[in-house]
């Protein structure tokens, strides 16, 4: 008796789950249905979410799921075909490029170098930034500031922002064997997100950190790099040196819904959304 009961309950539960998964929505005016999964970079995530919600307003029967995890996760998701798009906030390495069929640049982002607002330094060269982040320059007076020790704030190992930053500033350099070595000083505070870097730099005297230009606000002071202001216009013009692409990666034939989403992102409407926080590419 009880066995029948247990089996019955289990079956009912299982069936419930299955039907929930298999449920299909009826096509509407645009005719598009389906689900698009985008997984990867947490830098790209807020943009993806905004693009997705605008797209779903037009195509109510398409569900777009945005997952985080990081650029590493995004590249892996595209390689293993477990998402329609993997997203990355850094250029692919050569060996990664070989494993991924399609790469779409959906936006560009600049990385701003930020100081706590009380700091008097306003301009650093790429080389000075490199010296500071590798621990060769340790006092603000060496770069025209007050006599105070420099507190370097970095992102965690593997972060896309860190990857972009160390590569462009040459903090990461190829050694004799040709492998890139990240020489960020061991005396750096490490914070696991853009927000945490911003809070740390804003509230700690003598700090220097880096965040995406899209995340800049009044709590921290962005400096000029090589005499160029950290603005979106300067990134797009190619004048501002520390910038990076936002990529959507795919290894499969795009589904109609995924293709439509990509077309939407690269359309004038999509790029207008990109332009709110980042730099449009079309």
């Amino acid at each position: 008796m009880k066995k029948i009961l247990i089996i019955g309950l289990t079956l009912a539960l299982a069936l419930g789950t299955l039907t929930a998964c298999g449920a299909k929505t009826e096509p509407t005016a645009t005719g598009l249905t389906g689900k698009v999964v985008v997984a990867g970079s947490t830098s790209v995530q807020p943009l993806s979410e905004e693009l997705a919600s605008a797209f779903m307003d037009i195509n109510p029967d398409v569900t777009i799921e945005i997952q985080g995890g990081g650029s590493g996760v995004g590249i892996k998701a595209a390689q293993d075909k477990i998402a329609d798009f993997g997203s990355s906030s850094r250029e692919l390495k050569a060996e990664e490029k070989a494993t991924i069929a399609n790469e779409y640049v959906i936006a560009k982002d600049g990385v701003a170098v930020v100081l706590d607002p009380a700091n008097t330094v306003t301009d650093l060269s790429l080389d000075q930034i490199k010296q500071i982040f590798t621990g060769k320059i340790t006092n603000w007076k060496e770069v025209g500031g007050a006599d105070a020790p420099i507190v370097v704030v970095s992102r965690e190992e593997g972060s896309g922002t860190r990857g972009a930053f160390v590569e462009i500033t040459k903090v990461s350099e190829k050694d004799a064997a040709g492998t890139a070595v990240d020489n960020t000083t061991k005396d750096a505070l490490v914070q696991p997100s853009t927000g945490a870097v911003k809070t740390t730099v804003a509230n700690t005297p003598n700090t220097i950190g880096y965040i995406s230009i899209g995340a800049l606000d009044d709590t921290v002071k962005a400096i000029k790099v090589e005499g160029i202001d950290a603005t979106e216009a300067n990134v797009l013009a190619g004048d501002y040196k520390i910038s990076r692409p936002f990529l959507y990666l795919s290894n499969t034939e795009l589904t109609p819904a995924a293709q439509a989403f990509l077309d939407f992102i690269l359309s004038a409407e999509g790029q207008a959304i990109v332009a709110k926080d980042f730099i449009p590419v079309q």
Binding site: A188, T200, N203
Partner: protein, 295 residues
């Protein structure tokens, strides 16, 4: 036995089996994911290497172990005397009604999410250490500097976080000391303080030790609060005002972005964490048994 009782009994067995299987699966999974890199990189190099920079292929976790142990030790130094003192006050000294108010306040600490502790530490404690503690330290060591992100900050926050565990378990074991012990001690002419120190604490010590072990377990495992306030600097610390990175914090921060080998290394860090906790538990169990044997 009634039919529903049998069903309930079976359900309970199923629950027990599921939780046991989970433990086994998690253990197997962590070891399977982490062991390859431990073998390739070398266990000794991994544990005693002083350079943690996964992007460069260096996986020495000694700085992380030092970070975890120093923050935990600091938390115990601050938290254990406070916790035991609170337990004694609550069970032996304060009248029942007042004690209940204090007790529920302390228990409330256990309900605060750890990220809130971390945020509190970040906004209040870290700047306070920089502005108030640093000048005092500089009177003795003029060259001292700190950003406030430090072992000290982590230890204070963790000490507060482990208080509820230490207080409630110690208090229970102190309350469980038979009334006759107190009466006999007082009858022999000992005053209240002597009774507490010489009779009650020794009689309750296995419970007190258990509370310290559980508190230590929580301190080692705590992740979120520690990420926010210790600075996450994978470097062997020179003093309590230096920044450190912990084992758990490093796993949590880096897992999201990690590529294949890096991810394996983080699982290997998990293995070491697992081992450390097992080892500490074993030591604690043995010492608790030893002490009980002396009674």
């Amino acid at each position: 036995m009634k039919a529903y009782e049998k069903i309930v009994e079976k359900l309970i067995i199923v629950c027990a089996i599921i939780s046991t299987i989970s433990v086994v699966l998690i253990t197997v999974f962590i070891f399977r994911s982490g062991l390859p890199i431990l073998m390739n990189y070398g266990v000794i190099d991994f544990i005693f290497g002083t350079n943690w920079s996964p992007t460069n292929g260096n996986y020495g976790i000694l700085p992380l172990i030092a970070g975890t142990l120093s923050v935990t030790l600091g938390a115990l130094i601050i938290g254990v005397p406070m916790g035991i003192a609170s337990a004694i006050i609550l069970s032996e000294i304060l009248p029942g009604k007042v004690a209940r108010v204090f007790k529920s306040a302390i228990e409330l600490l256990a309900g605060i999410p750890s990220v809130v502790y971390g945020f509190f530490g970040l906004i209040v404690l870290v700047p306070a250490i920089r502005t108030f503690i640093l000048p005092i330290v500089q009177l003795v060591v003029p060259k001292a500097t700190t950003t406030g992100f430090s072992i000290f900050a982590g230890a204070i926050i963790l000490a507060i976080m482990i208080l509820p565990t230490i207080v409630s378990i110690s208090e229970n074991s102190i309350k469980a000391v038979p009334r006759e012990f107190r009466e006999a001690s007082l009858a022999l002419g000992a005053n209240k303080m002597e009774t507490i120190v010489r009779v009650i604490i020794p009689a309750a010590k296995s419970g007190i030790i258990a509370s310290i072990i559980l508190g230590m377990g929580r301190a080692i495992g705590e992740t979120m609060a520690v990420i926010l306030i210790t600075g996450n600097m994978p470097k062997i610390p020179g003093g309590p005002l230096d920044s450190v990175a912990t084992l758990t914090g490093t796993i949590a921060m880096e897992m999201g972005y990690a590529d294949a080998t890096h991810q394996q290394a983080l699982f290997a860090v998990g293995i070491i964490l697992f081992m450390i906790i097992m080892l500490l538990n074993a030591i604690a169990q043995i010492s608790a048994h030893g002490l009980r044997g002396n009674n």
